[in-house]
Homo-oligomer: 251 residues x 2
């Protein structure tokens, strides 16, 4: 696919790329979608180039879809990364020769690239990646076990994670990530996993209740040995309203 792009490199913005950080929640782990391309030992974030006739927000969706088969995700831009030397070691002379990339194409590919970061927090179970070609491996990897990544992708991932954590203070999270009916401890676990810290049970209950997005159901969780915890569901209208207006912790 890189070959196709290089054949038509004039149709892409020079020196500008997009990288996507896709988080999924599963088994009380916050996982991130990573790709390993052929002939490379290290993993990378799914990324690509910007067609000159596509808005960058559209290009982000295209790039993610082409690299991972994943579609229909609302991607949020979080930062742009542009250190001078971020990609100057990326393609060695040998790699370019191996890939049969020469002259103008090699020049286009090895020039300085600035990259725009997009992220999303998605439903792990509904987000099934399919590699664009059979040599590529795509995997969900626990964010705590992420191996070495190419370029500055660790920094990009770190910034996306910091943004996600900050957003917990601005908007509700959980819809689409938890089952339809859930307990407060399950919701708390989601927050604890994202924030990577233990939260006080009473404090969490008070704060999450105050947001006004939860509906307490007339059911208890079954198959629980001890005192069965209450089940809750999100009040979708209120959830949407809070998403739009932000958590009411403002001035």
């Amino acid at each position: 696919m890189l070959k196709d792009i290089l054949e038509n490199y004039e149709n892409y913005q020079p020196g500008l790329s997009i990288d996507c950080v896709i988080f999924g929640f599963h088994d009380n782990q916050l996982k991130v979608l990573l790709i390993k391309i052929p002939h490379r030992e290290t993993w990378s974030l799914p990324g690509g180039f910007i067609p000159v006739n596509q808005d960058i927000d559209v290009a982000a969706v295209t790039v993610l879809n082409e690299r991972t088969g994943v579609d229909g995700i609302f991607l949020r831009q979080f930062a742009t990364f542009g250190k001078v030397k971020r990609n100057d070691q990326h393609f060695s002379k040998e790699a370019l020769e191996y890939l049969e990339i020469f002259e103008e194409k090699a020049k286009w590919l090895t020039r300085r690239f600035v990259t725009i970061g997009y992220y999303a927090l998605v439903d792990f179970l509904k987000t099934i990646p399919k590699p664009a070609n059979k040599d590529e491996i795509i995997e969900w990897i626990d964010h705590k076990e992420v191996p070495e990544l190419i370029l500055d992708h660790k920094e990009i991932l770190g910034k996306a994670l910091a943004t996600l954590r900050m957003e917990l203070n601005l908007m509700p999270v959980g819809y689409n990530l938890l089952p339809e009916k859930f307990t407060i401890p399950e919701l708390q676990k989601l927050y604890e996993t994202i924030l990577d810290k233990k939260l006080d049970r009473r404090n969490f209950l008070r704060k999450i209740t105050n947001i006004g997005i939860l509906t307490k159901l007339d059911e208890k969780k079954s198959n629980v040995a001890h005192k069965a915890p209450n089940l809750y569901t999100f009040d979708k209208d209120k959830y949407k309203e809070v998403l739009k207006n932000g958590l009411n912790q403002g001035w």
Copy 2:
């Protein structure tokens, strides 16, 4: 200056620019620094291009300094703007001829540009702009009175303002924007001006006090007809600490 850049356009990232939104607080107005260049009727944000040998964060400082003479400001990146058609009407054929920009230089200048937005909230009294050339006009304009701007600069300004408002929920604001000693009503006015809404006096007092960054002085404001309000100052160490860790409204 554009001429100098075009003479050496290969030393700049193609299709990528930086625009700066500089806010200043004065006379209970939130003002923004705008430039009017020669031969154009409309105003613009101070912006420019990215030298291939500069990190983008460094280039932002350079661009701001070269366009406005303003230096020593901590600029924060807030978003990147990349709609396909954002600059395709910017330089007409006539304008290019008038400016004597032809061929490769014209092609470089009129290609699709993505722009990275940076913003800062600065001390109005210490931030004295100096135009880079005598035909340019630089002015502080009340954000509510901003005239027509070039390209998508209104959208960029709007997004910077939204980011600033959101940041009021994440970090303290006011240091360097208010005199050394100030009253709570003065601080409240700063918040009200940025947020563009009235705040409840008691609520504001409670919230701002809870942050723990204020030191109540043993002085009252003089020259006040009625009941003189207390004077406060920022506890600089605590202010810095809260800036670093964020407002404690988290989970």
